[in-house]
């Protein structure tokens, strides 16, 4: 029986022909080493779309997928054979051989595609279609073969047509020759076993190669001799219609699995009407209008179009054209395309079926965490104060560590910011593949994630990468990672000549320290490392701030701000003494870029280390005659960076700057204006307006942000909360 992979008409014909033939054995074009896995067909939890995954045991990334949908002829053949107790034999070249061949070509990843796409299905059908005068081979095949679904006669016709196109049993390529040789060997074996009625389900292209009488066996034996072998594991994995779709790039796919599934389920003429009913229900679910009148019109238009185009019955093109014209302008068309034409179905695999151990453990973990893999995107809110929230979060983060991005943290303060985490989840079947790729790292999610992180840590010498690993380890609650990585951070920080890296490591570490206890992570080791890093930063900061050009200075001011934030976050002791002292030195040194000096002064001001008068003095010094105008302007830019509020509320400071600008010589003013503009241009418009008003003396600074009529009773209520938050006694 020559079929087209994933052809619904072929599938129906196969079932009908099998019922008619009552074969004693069914041979299917499927790698022979998948045969054992077929025992699972018929298990009620094995629901298509599913795929057989064959992977090389030691190199799980070299794998091949054989997807089946309910409308795949092969799947129907399995189901029929299982139901009638007829043995199934897989007769294609075993994966042991074909995957080994892939290694020689060096394209393990592409193998899955090759394995299925190497039938040049397009070409013979195109040749036939052209002979029949139809420019579109897909449509022609659909009209002539798929829409008939009348069993054995169709297969005879297909066999004849293919024989005409191919002209004999000789194969086109070496690979094809091997596969067909193997198929023939299996066929001979089935004959030798005394089977009288043998059904072979294979791609139409291979039919002539298997036609009786078979060529001499010795030729095939020679073809197959001496091929390299690898050890292959075969397992069932769930698949989706979306993955089946052509659009997502796998070969031998179909453009419209949803439509095919529909056609397979409803072969009769009422199928079109049913499809429109499905479409209308979908649209109504999403709150879009779809009246029965639309359905009637759509069905009639589709039928009329099919008649006009001389097709036996409306195909997908007619149905979509009809939907397009009846519901023109509706936003629902894209929805129909996504949900009905391609479809969202996702397969299921029974728990006991052959799976890689890691995948099995993942399934257990998912059940424990009560998280079900779903193909459509959805969000999940986790409350990290509850054990369930924590365990879910840990599982998701562990998968992140394994580079299996089931979900992505959507908001919150980046990492372990608050007790709430929002995840965007979407389980793509590719993730199943990633899980299998990671199988080499361990047999459980925890062990594999730990090993993967340790591997990453060992591979890097960059402090930032180590910190990132540490961050993930904390989030994923992988205690075994923390200690060795912390040790590496310590060692690396000691050897790292670049204090910048150390500074950048402070931020994530501080967050981990501050919020780690939300998750109950042990943080003492971390605290020690953090203290060690702070010492290094204090020692190296001045060096890092010297002799910088404009760009480097701009990056450095952000780092300084980061250090201050990290110290504040952890309420580190250095924040009160050593760090302000350090900043003071920075702001006084003449070999430090004006921008950095300015920001250091600002940090001192913000941190409350400097009194207002002190700040004013420093700013005024920067803006006085002795300082080159460019340095002065850079200082102002650094000092005011990002916000004009400080000026709005600090008259003294404003006056200092105002006086400096007014006192500039014309030449100096011209050269300073661009720099000043850069600073002031970055302010909010409202801030600029306020500043303008202040300078024009039209408004007196109110000194505080409140109006005159504060409602004392209501303010008191807010104060209670603020006190509670700050831990101040009432």
């Amino acid at each position: 029986m020559g079929i087209r992979h994933h052809g619904p008409g072929s599938a129906r014909s196969v079932v009908r022909a099998l019922a008619l033939l009552q074969p004693t054995v069914v041979l299917v074009e499927l790698p022979a080493d998948c045969e054992a896995a077929l025992a699972w067909v018929g298990h009620e939890q094995l629901q298509p779309p599913v795929a057989l995954l064959g992977h090389v045991i030691d190199q799980p990334q070299r794998a091949a997928f054989l997807p089946f949908a309910s409308f795949s002829p092969e799947w129907q053949a399995f189901v029929w054979a299982r139901a009638h107790g007829v043995p199934i034999r897989a007769i294609d070249l075993p994966l042991q051989l074909s995957l080994a061949g892939g290694a020689a070509d060096g394209d393990g990843a592409g193998d899955g595609e090759l394995l299925l796409a190497d039938h040049p299905v397009g070409d013979p059908i195109a040749a036939l279609a052209a002979a029949a005068g139809d420019p579109d081979p897909e449509r022609w095949w659909e009209d002539v073969i798929e829409h008939r679904g009348d069993g054995a006669p169709a297969f005879d016709a297909v066999a004849e047509a293919m024989a005409a196109v191919r002209g004999g049993w000789e194969a086109g390529s070496v690979r094809e020759a091997r596969r067909e040789a193997y198929m023939r060997q299996c066929l001979r074996m089935a004959l030798a076993d005394g089977h009288q009625r043998i059904a072979v389900v294979c791609g139409a292209w291979h039919v002539p190669a298997l036609a009786m009488p078979l060529p001499p066996a010795t030729v095939d034996a020679r073809t197959l001799r001496g091929l390299p072998k690898v050890k292959v594991g075969v397992s069932w994995v769930p698949w989706t219609h979306r993955r089946l779709a052509f659009a997502t790039g796998y070969g031998a796919g179909v453009r419209s699995p949803g439509w095919y599934a529909h056609v397979f389920a409803h072969p009769g003429p009422e199928g079109v009407a049913r499809w429109f009913v499905g479409a209308a229900r979908l649209l109504r679910d999403r709150g879009l209008p779809a009246s029965p009148d639309h359905l009637i019109a759509g069905t009639r238009t589709a039928t009329a179009l099919a008649a006009l185009r001389g097709r036996p019955r409306p195909g997908l093109v007619e149905v979509l054209d009809a939907a397009d014209t009846v519901m023109a302008g509706s936003t629902g068309l894209a929805l129909i395309e996504r949900e009905l034409v391609v479809g969202d179905a996702i397969g299921e695999v029974p728990e006991g079926a052959p799976q890689v151990p890691l995948a099995r453990d993942l399934a257990t973990q998912q059940r424990k965490a009560r998280l079900k893999p779903q193909a459509d995107a959805h969000t999940l809110e986790l409350d990290l104060r509850t054990p369930l929230g924590r365990s879910r979060s840990a599982l998701l983060h562990r998968l992140q560590a394994l580079e299996v991005p089931w979900g992505a943290v959507q908001e919150g303060r980046g990492s372990s910011g608050t007790f709430r985490e929002t995840w965007g989840l979407r389980w793509e079947p590719e993730l199943t593949i990633r899980v299998i790729e990671r199988a080499a790292h361990g047999t459980t999610v925890q062990v594999a994630a730990t090993n993967r992180l340790l591997e990453r840590a060992a591979a890097t010498t960059a402090l930032a990468d180590l910190i990132a690993v540490l961050d993930v380890a904390m989030l994923a609650d992988l205690g075994a990672v923390v200690r060795p990585v912390v040790a590496r951070v310590e060692a690396q920080a000691a050897h790292d000549p670049d204090v910048v890296q150390v500074i950048e490591a402070l931020g994530p570490l501080a967050r981990a320290l501050r919020y780690g206890d939300v998750r109950g992570t042990d943080a003492t080791a971390l605290r020690n490392v953090f203290d060690g890093l702070v010492v290094r930063v204090l020692a190296g900061a001045l060096m890092a701030c010297r002799s910088l050009d404009d760009d480097a200075a701009a990056a450095m001011v952000e780092r300084l701000a980061g250090v201050q934030a990290a110290l504040a976050l952890t309420d580190h002791a250095a924040r009160r003494a050593e760090w302000p002292a350090m900043l003071t030195i920075i702001t006084e040194r003449t070999d430090v870029h004006g921008l950095v000096q300015g920001r250091a002064a600002r940090l001192l001001h913000d941190g409350g280390a400097w009194k207002r008068a002190q700040v004013g003095n420093r700013v005024s010094r920067a803006l006085s005659v002795g300082t080159p105008p460019a340095v002065g302007a850079a200082f102002v830019e650094g000092f005011l960076a990002g916000s004009g509020t400080v000026l709005v509320h600090d008259r003294e400071l404003l006056e200092v700057i105002d006086a400096w600008v007014s006192a500039l010589a014309p030449d100096a003013f011209v050269s300073t204006v661009p720099l000043l503009r850069r600073t002031f241009g970055a302010f909010e418009q409202a801030e600029r307006r306020q500043l303008g008003l202040l300078l024009a003396d039209q408004a007196r600074a109110t000194g505080s942000g409140f109006g005159a009529d504060v409602d004392a009773a209501r303010a008191a209520l807010a104060l209670v909360t603020v006190r509670q938050m700050l831990g101040v006694p009432q």
């Binding site: 209008p289 009246s291 009148d293 639309h294 019109a297 009639r300 238009t301 039928t303 009329a304 179009l305 008649a307 006009l308 185009r309 001389g310 054209d321 009809a322 397009d324 014209t325 009846v326 023109a328 302008g329």
Partner: protein
């Protein structure tokens, strides 16, 4: 009774007259099934619109150049007795397609209601001969049928042009006609029931100024086919060429070889201004307010041909099209003039082979 002289003397003959031989040849060879009261089968209608060569060697000229799919949908819609709405920006051949569809299906493209802001319900339903109405009271004889009424009576295609220009309440007079295929005549206590073959082709323009949106009820009764602007420059050049040649014959202009280069230039300019960017995508342009449709390109070239024939050297040259182009582009004296000047200076001047055209435009 007809008020017009015999068809061969009129300025622009109806489609069913101009292409009578093609329709006859199609009808003779048409073996496909015909819906009731259709002159041709849907298959033959599609062939008539898209062109082709028949079994007996008759060449059917293409009336619509564009995607086959659209015409197929349009014809299939009419075959299902659902009304057809042709939607599109001005100059996308909506009226043209509607006329030829009516001519091919009913052999009569004259049952036409032209929608304007002043169109009243009587023009869609029926009016009264008031002298008779007063003398005899309401009677079938006093009733003045509208084109739609007559189409229902005969089972042919009625056309409604510029549906969206009618006031909304007048548009809705069509709802009963389209859904029930019945026109109630309360004054006579009876109704007019449509004969099979009756259908309505409406054209509308959803982006112009001064249009009234269709009500949801009416919209639901139409299958909509959106006619796009020509997809690529070759298609558009081909359309302009063919129409210019046809018009030249109809208007009895002296034969002027319509230079392919000039047509290509006009189409290029229109496309670039319409898309707001040059064909190579390197320069962005201001988009003028006019629609700059293919129809306008055709009229620019035709008037250029007339200029060349009567006042020029008998060859369509840059100067002949320049005047027409400026007139077509500059619809708004302020904004469009700026857009055109920018285009002239930024794009036209730098194209080496367009020097003559540039000079001609500058002189205007």
């Amino acid at each position: 009774m007809t008020l017009t002289p015999p068809q061969h003397t009129v300025l622009r003959p109806h489609a069913e007259h101009e292409f009578a031989h093609e329709l006859a040849a199609l009808a003779a060879l048409d073996t496909h099934e015909r819906p009731p009261n259709w002159r041709l089968s849907p298959w033959a209608v599609v062939t008539y619109l898209l062109g082709g060569t028949l079994a007996d060697g008759t060449v059917v000229s293409p009336k619509y150049v564009g995607r086959r799919r659209l015409i197929e949908i349009a014809v299939a819609t009419l075959a299902t007795d659902r009304a057809l709405l042709l939607l599109g920006v001005p100059g996308t051949a909506k009226t043209w397609v509607s006329e030829h569809l009516a001519a091919a299906i009913s052999g009569d493209s004259t049952l036409l209601v032209q929608g304007t802001a002043g169109t009243a319900e009587e023009q869609l339903r029926y009016g009264w001969n008031y002298a008779r109405l007063i003398a005899e009271g309401p009677s079938a004889a006093a009733l003045v049928p509208s084109p739609i009424y007559r189409a229902m009576e005969r089972g042919s295609i009625a056309r409604v042009e510029e549906l969206t220009r009618m006031p909304g309440d007048v548009q809705d007079a069509l709802v009963t006609v389209l859904s029930e295929k019945t026109l109630p005549l309360p004054e006579l206590g009876s109704e007019m029931q449509a004969v099979p073959g009756f259908n309505v082709i409406a054209t509308a323009n959803d982006r112009d100024r001064g249009v009234n949106d269709l009500s949801a009820a009416l919209r639901r009764r139409f299958n909509t086919v959106v006619l796009p602007l020509p997809a690529d420059i070759e298609e558009e050049v081909a359309i302009v060429q063919r129409r210019v040649a046809e018009l030249g014959t109809a208007l009895a202009l002296p034969a002027v070889p319509a230079s392919n280069d000039e047509i290509r230039r006009v189409v290029t300019i229109f496309r670039e201004l319409r898309n707001g960017a040059t064909a190579d995508g390197r320069i962005s342009l201001k988009v003028p307010t006019g629609s700059l449709s293919t129809a306008e390109a055709i009229s620019v070239v035709t008037s250029g041909v007339a200029l060349a024939a009567h006042f020029g050297d008998g060859h369509l040259g840059a100067a002949d099209v320049a005047a027409g182009i400026v007139g077509a582009v500059v619809k708004d004296p302020v904004h469009d003039a700026v857009a055109w000047r920018e285009y002239l200076e930024a794009v036209v001047r730098d194209r080496s082979e367009w020097g003559e055209f540039y000079e001609a435009c500058r002189e205007l």
